[in-house]
Symmetry: C3
Subunit: 310 residues, 3 copies
């Protein structure tokens, strides 16, 4: 998410064009952002201990409300009031394996929409078992870094399409995340992202789903159409929880919009707010403060006008 | 806690008068705030994962010290050094049901004073079982939003007084919190707050207890006398943990003062500090920073001079 | 860590001299700090819920990367990618006793280096059992406050040297921490710190180890040589996690340097960054922000030039 990263490092994307101002997607994004501001929707979260506070504060700053829980009976109790939910596997406790199976099966049975952040996919046997179990009760949106998206596609053993083959070879070289950091470029995850999006859309009652890969230039796909969102700030890699909280805000938007719109709107908001944050800070401490202020002050019109290449 | 909320929305409170400058309660509040500054009392907490950092930082900023734990043997070990303790049920783990029963029974046996924040009362079977269990070993102060206070009174099946009947009918209409947000006005919780305060005072060794209901205008009662504290900032609803950390600071004050004084002092401090925070910020990120600075810089005299209507 | 504390309260240290500018230790410190900036090393953490976010953000601000976990299979999975690890026992869950035994035994078998923060040593039976178990698979660096260091030496039943006898008598008077705060001066922990350092060095494959005692004037020892680092800011006691995050940053430095260098570099960085923080803040909220910015902006040359008395 560095301002000048797109032109310098992604020359293979040089043929892409920014969506026109009257593209229907821009209207959808603007409507989603405005609806969040107007209705303060609840998106409940089952998320990690490191960044749980930032996830809640980012959802509030974006205009939604937050509730966090780790118990199936709590999450079930909050499902009706939540327009969507969020599951992030960053830090795990032993009982999560059963709890998350129970929760995601209920979401699936109820057609309740949710966002998954497959943090550190590939690390540890418990994490792998949990992430594999989600294949039977999939999320509506997956938001991760490139390595996580590549690993999750591999775990779910999803086929890559023929015209994805060039990238397939890159994806197969991934050895997974290093800790919670991506070891791969966003572009290397394109084929995996599309395969995951096609799979989750098939399992959705309305046939919808989206995958967002965060990095210097974000990639968002519904399996059929793929978009790149340049911009943002490299300072996002210098605070913990930039990605986790983006997953939470994506759930906030999913509470009022379709998955593709929600994923695009959240990534666009994050790019604008992190640029505001960088312009108003002297280091990671003041950056996080200014970034949260940016989530709060970025308007639906500004979000909708953000660069989206296709 | 919005500045102009009192006059516009609570016209039924129009007959109330601000306490005189020489009212003994104001002296008690000032003494409590000064004693906290002078003696940095410890109030240990068993609190939720979302806002645990803010609870500790707010207690430190108000002049106390903090220690957090989830194990009965730890809490028992810290009881003697703690002037009071704090239990907040925001996020629950499976083992809490037994742990909290053991902890509160020990507090009760030892006449150790503590503050309860019944976060999201009514949500989930585990939470309900835990909150019901506290009736047998009650807290000294309850601090919650209106829906939580109404639900807790209902769970504990406490009688409402005859002259509370008008409000009783309102309370009975509550369907509980939406997530962690109140679905009810503070005033709708008056009868429930008084019933809870009377009950916990009866179980206290010195016959004391208080209930604080947070909202646009906070309500604090010891069951006999009821006070309203107008002011504060609506930005408090745009950061996570405003209420949780108020519960923690209330425990800090309870370590050096009687329950009514502690509840009033903490709510008054929060109103002043959040006004300072709003005046020195551009969004929720900078608001939280300026609010913590406000907790630190608000003087005992300013806390004691805060509007308290009766 | 107060600027003027050294001269006023530690007159018994008056004969010590600041290390010369060309002392090899200063070069080691500068190299360590520069290497962290250049290589962004990963140091994984098993740490407490109160300050886990600050630990990660401090590691990032100092130039490293962070990954947090509570499962032995996760930690084992992350060991190879981590130059060092960090264990902090601030908040405990029931399953930690087995998990931490398993983790530290694996670290020991693999000669994997790690930093221990023995938070609130002496409080609670679970904590005591966990801390005692570490004697069989010791850390490479211990970072704590004076009371914690004194208590840990006592728990491990380590002998104090003859010439430590004067301080021994002081150490024996400690009753342990009050909550998470030290009840003892840094100087009272000198003999205990040296005894612990000698013990952990003996168990290290390369015969190295260090103990850092944080306070107004920090003390760092490898068991043979002992250094004092004056300076810093008293505001560090007004935010939660100053010590915890120092432990995390010490692990970040340990990923690229020997234990003595890592402990000195981290303490020196904290003293400089907290002075910057105090100069740019109006209370604990803005202090934490400015402190994180200070961790980010303090240069390797400034860290290496920090006062180190011997």
């Amino acid at each position: 998410m560095v301002n000048d990263a797109y032109s310098s490092t992604n020359n293979n994307l040089g043929n892409l064009k920014d969506l026109a101002a009257d593209n229907p997607l821009r209207l959808s994004i603007r409507t989603a952002a405005q609806t969040v501001r107007d209705t303060t929707p609840l998106a409940q979260s089952f998320t990690n201990f490191v960044t749980i506070n930032l996830v809640a504060n980012a959802q509030l700053a974006a205009g939604g409300t937050a509730a966090m829980s780790f118990l199936p009976d709590d999450i079930a109790g909050g499902e009706a009031a939540s327009g969507a939910s969020y599951i992030n596997v960053g830090t795990l406790l032993p009982f999560y394996k059963d709890a998350l199976k129970q929760i995601t099966e209920k979401f699936h049975a109820d057609h309740h929409r949710w966002v998954l952040d497959p943090v550190a996919a590939g690390m540890g046997t418990t994490r792998t078992a949990i992430l594999k179990s989600f294949k039977a009760a999939p999320p509506t949106i997956i938001r991760g870094n490139a390595s996580e998206v590549i690993k999750l596609r591999e775990m779910w053993e999803l086929p890559l399409q023929e015209n994805d083959n060039a990238l397939d070879s890159i994806a197969r070289q991934s050895s997974g995340p290093v800790g919670v950091e991506s070891a791969d470029d966003v572009e290397a995850a394109e084929a995996s992202a599309k395969a995951l999006a096609r799979f989750i859309a098939k399992s959705d009652a309305q046939g919808q789903g989206a995958v967002a890969v965060s990095g210097e230039t974000d990639l968002v796909t519904d399996g059929e159409h793929t978009y790149r969102l340049p911009g943002g700030s490299a300072m996002m890699t210098k605070i913990t929880g930039a990605g986790c909280s983006l997953g939470g805000v994506t759930a906030t938007y999913l509470a009022v919009a379709d998955p593709l719109t929600a994923a695009l709107a959240a990534s666009a908001l994050y790019n604008r707010a992190s640029e505001t944050g960088e312009a108003n800070s002297h280091g990671p401490g003041s950056f996080q403060v200014a970034f949260l202020d940016g989530l709060w002050s970025t308007t639906p019109a500004q979000i909708a006008a953000s660069p989206i290449l296709a």
